[in-house]
Symmetry: C2
């Protein structure tokens, strides 16, 4: 346990972040409802009161974990590359950034994507997800309006398909696999923006037409 250092009040063992990591892994493995504070204490080798020293409740642990994932995703939308320049380039940046957040915070995003709105904490997280989706949808609309993305698709459907593709990465991605986050981000942008089909002479004529 030494790699977790000492917590902020000087006791040896897990700090708040260390407890969070273990809790998120347990929530993903057993489900949030099925993971009691007793189960968490066992996994941490701590007493329940040692956990309560850092978090007032299981709900507060969940809130911290979901905030971690959401803040990272929202952060991508606030980066300069997502706020300046052509909308299509900003969307490209946001898609790549989201893939990086997923890969870097796989367990936190996995937990976020399983939230169904059973508690106030979960409902607030869903609201933030919806707000994120709306900002991305607005970006798709801007890119259509500037003429850089095709406009024969509904922007909400486009946003859902794009993030359906991105979010599905949590189902199969394992750290240390053959694809790193940057290559995976390239792949997602290639499929989403350029498509898989090779240009044919037909298509070029159509484009020139």
């Amino acid at each position: 346990m030494s790699e977790n250092g000492t917590n902020r009040r000087g006791r040896p063992g897990y700090d708040q972040q260390g407890i969070l990591e273990v809790a998120v892994a347990a929530f993903n493995e057993y489900g949030y409802d099925a993971t009691s504070m007793g189960v968490l204490a066992d996994r941490l080798g701590l007493s329940k009161s040692a956990i309560y020293h850092h978090f007032a409740s299981k709900d507060e642990i969940l809130e911290h974990a979901l905030d971690h994932a959401l803040s990272s995703l929202e952060g991508v939308l606030d980066e300069p590359e997502a706020t300046r320049g052509r909308a299509a380039d900003r969307l490209d940046h946001v898609l790549r950034g989201a893939v990086h957040v997923l890969v870097d915070q796989l367990s936190y995003v996995t937990l976020l994507l399983r939230v169904r709105g059973n508690t106030d904490v979960e409902r607030r997280a869903l609201e933030r997800r919806r707000a994120f989706d709306k900002r991305v949808t607005a970006l798709v609309a801007e890119a259509q309006a500037e003429g850089s993305l095709r406009s024969d698709l509904d922007v909400r459907i486009v946003e859902r398909l794009l993030f359906g593709m991105i979010n599905s990465i949590v189902e199969w991605y394992r750290p240390g696999g053959p694809e790193d986050a940057a290559k995976l981000a390239d792949d997602v942008v290639t499929v989403a923006l350029d498509g898989l089909r090779m240009p044919t002479s037909n298509r070029i004529e159509q484009l020139l037409g």
Copy 2:
């Protein structure tokens, strides 16, 4: 209950398919483990023994439900349009067909996608999903080899991203919404094969090389 007709042994009430529909809805709502035969009997307004008249166990209900979704998906791969002609056109057909299966059998596919392999029935379903994925992956490889799909992406990653996008439809699609299955299938194929980006003169020059 009259619309469910009489069952095959002549008793009034639900036939096997009718019980399956209600059971799948309950499994999706409460989770398979949390749905007891007693809960199912309550929802159906039947006795447990009336259910056992049709299914030997809850596990057998799940097996029928998963087989329903899997057979439909496998059926798409066996259609003439998926077995003859250029690989890129066959892939186009398979992507569209999968969207139709998802929309037509939303609750069955939702259940299938939640399976994690906790029982023999679930593990057999996962095996069939993997076999399906392998056949689609082989089709992507064929399309790359014939020169109709770009070959700078790993075929397994491509298959996962495509079906990540398609499978995510179960998360938000509601029957009777603004998009019907055919339009949604068009959207998926447009994103996947042609991409969202509008061709620019730059790109045309690149294509003309």
